[in-house]
């Protein structure tokens, strides 16, 4: 069972602030998800190379040719706040980088 401390850790990483009741609910739900995925542990994969991608394709690359067809208006169109071409955001608190 996922510990309360582990839920708090995930909560912080996700920038959430849960009540004790919510925390218990998520603890149980997350636990169900983990248990479901844990079924994979039953299979012996020691001789199976890790699969990084579902497609058997490698080296999809583009040439280094610049193109600029997205306007500043497009870029800022969903911004709740903008000024002088910038996105304006609330001040940053906390030292997380």
């Amino acid at each position: 069972m996922l510990s309360v401390e582990e839920v708090i850790h995930i909560e912080r990483l996700a920038r959430l602030k849960l009540t004790d009741k919510e925390r218990e609910m998520y603890r149980s739900q997350l636990n169900d998800v983990l248990n479901y995925a844990a079924k994979l542990d039953e299979i012996d994969t020691s001789n199976v190379p890790p699969m990084y991608h579902i497609l058997p394709v490698t080296n999809v690359l583009r040439e280094d040719i610049p193109q600029n067809n997205f306007s500043l208006e497009d870029a800022l169109s969903n911004a709740p706040l903008k000024e002088g071409g910038f996105f304006v955001i609330p001040p940053i608190l906390g030292g997380e980088e």
Binding site: H9, R12, L13, R15, Y52, H53, I54, L55, V57, T58, N59, V60, L61, R62, E63, D64, I65, P66, Q67, N68, N69, F70, L72, A75, L76, E83, G84, G85, F86, F87, V88, I89, P90, P91, I92, L93, G94, G95, E96, E97
Partner: protein, 478 residues
């Protein structure tokens, strides 16, 4: 107690590609905010990154130049964290399969050559830029975000903690910078942020096996700052340990103005980036053919140039100055093909030409001087058509106007006077006007002779052939 110092350096270098690493947005400095963006580098939902081939090749090129092994199967990972300059809330980076691993770089230290191991060279994307209205992170009212830099290809180069002093750190850093510049993959300008550096530092009692607790230094924005920040931090740690206290593992910020490192608020949460393979990008498969094609593109690097220049007869000092300057060494190499006196060329480039360039704050390739013009100038001196003095005088015209030296001396009538009768009459005049000096000379004052030579040079505006003047003057004085 004596301490040993262990420094590891992490460098981020912006690659000089024309477009970003996962989208076609142009890479360029100084554009108005958010004009070089698209759904990919703004992190809009559903946008699909496609890897820039050139960025991969620059990464392989650099890894090879730093003696790394290349990971044949390199993939990208998502590094998850929240920060407003990171629009997707994850950075596409590399985790356990960086493009290059286990390389090294040799540097010159006070106790001889030393090998600094390079742990990894990997490709990732840069973040956007934040501007705080109050100029400081805390206490400002609003922040402004510009995503022009978001998605610019970044190369991360991480060393092992093999560096033992601030001087070595600076040497390592400048060597890496020079290699990046010679490879043409980064402009290496720390002050402009196109090359950034972080360092981790620890100390331990001399002879101790285990590394001490390290601190991480950030905000080091110049080559000078690297040395000073490390010096400060080492002294701070020695002071703490010698008082019997313990070093706290933390990130410290170099405060350039006050010349000290300050603790950034220690994080409650340890880094937990939850790396996982980037599902939007397919794996890279780097085969021998591709690697060898790129290896063949590695140009002669500063270290090899240095050795070659010493063999040409330059002093180690001259060789180092030239070899580590891309523009100068290119010019030098072109010039020695045309004129077989490398020492003479080096001397002119490092003294007279360098002085003119400093006055103009320009690199040699930003002037109109060409190898051919310099050779013409040196040949004119060799043929005794002009003196070294005159050559120095006309150098600015070559640099600024690109006029051939021959033309300058013809137009300004600066050709050396080698005509005996013409010089003799000047000498006669000088002797007549300076009878008292001649008297002193005859009494044995050798200095007077130089004065008389000077007078002849003055009257001929420096054009007299000095050797001939000497000869004729001795004769005239009997």
């Amino acid at each position: 107690m004596e301490y040993e110092v262990n420094i590891g350096i992490e460098i981020h270098a912006e690659l000089l590609t024309k477009s970003k690493v996962f989208c076609s947005c142009p890479v360029q400095f100084g554009a108005p905010p958010n004009t070089l963006t698209c759904p990919v580098c703004l992190g809009l939902p559903g946008a699909l990154p496609v890897l820039n081939k050139k960025a991969v090749e620059y990464a392989i090129l650099t890894a090879l130049a730093l003696n790394c092994k290349i990971n044949r199967n390199a993939i990208f990972h998502r590094k998850n964290y929240f920060y407003p300059d990171l629009p997707k809330n994850y950075q596409i980076s590399q985790y356990d399969t960086p493009i290059g691993i286990q390389g090294y770089l040799e540097i010159e230290t006070s106790s001889g050559r030393k090998r600094i191991r390079i742990r990894r060279v990997h490709l990732e994307e840069d973040t956007g830029k934040l501007i705080h209205s109050g100029g400081r992170i805390t206490g400002s009212d609003m922040s402004f975000v510009d995503f022009n830099r978001s998605g610019v290809p970044l190369l991360e180069i991480v060393s092992e903690p093999d560096i033992s002093s601030p001087e070595e750190a600076k040497e390592y850093l400048t060597n890496i910078r020079d290699i990046l510049v010679f490879l043409g993959v980064c402009d290496g300008k720390m002050e402009e942020g196109s090359m950034r550096c972080e360092a981790n530092v620890s100390i331990r009692p001399k002879g101790s096996e285990r590394l001490g607790t390290k601190t991480e230094l950030k905000n080091i924005n110049s080559f000078r700052a690297v040395e000073r920040a490390l010096q400060y931090e080492i002294e701070r740690q020695i002071d703490i340990v010698s008082k019997g206290r313990e070093i706290i593992q933390e990130t410290r910020h170099w405060d350039e103005k006050n010349e000290k490192t300050i603790s950034m608020r220690s994080k409650e949460e340890a880094h937990d980036y939850r790396y996982f393979p980037e599902p939007d990008l397919v794996p890279l498969e780097i085969d021998d053919g591709w690697i060898e094609k790129i290896r063949a593109q590695i140009p002669e690097l500063p270290e090899e140039k240095y050795e070659r220049y010493k063999k040409l007869g330059l002093t180690p000092y001259e060789a180092k100055l030239l070899a580590h300057d891309l523009e100068m060494s290119t010019f030098f190499d072109e010039t020695i093909k045309l004129y077989n006196n490398p020492k003479n060329i080096a001397n002119w480039l490092l003294v007279d030409v360098t002085k003119e360039l400093k006055d103009r704050n320009k690199a040699i390739n930003q002037t109109l001087l060409t190898p051919r013009m310099l050779v013409e100038l040196l040949t004119l001196i060799d043929e005794e058509k002009i003196s070294g003095r005159i050559a120095k005088d006309i150098l600015p015209e070559l640099i600024d106007k690109g006029i051939s030296p021959r033309k300058v001396i013809e137009e300004r009538n600066l050709l050396q006077i080698t005509d005996t009768s013409e010089l003799s009459s000047v000498i006669e005049q000088v002797l007549k006007e300076n009878a008292n000096v001649v008297e002193e000379y005859k009494k044995g004052k050798e200095k007077s002779f130089m004065f008389l030579v000077g007078q002849v040079m003055r009257l001929t505006k420096g054009k007299a052939n000095p050797k001939l003047v000497n000869e004729l003057l001795r004769k005239a004085l009997g």
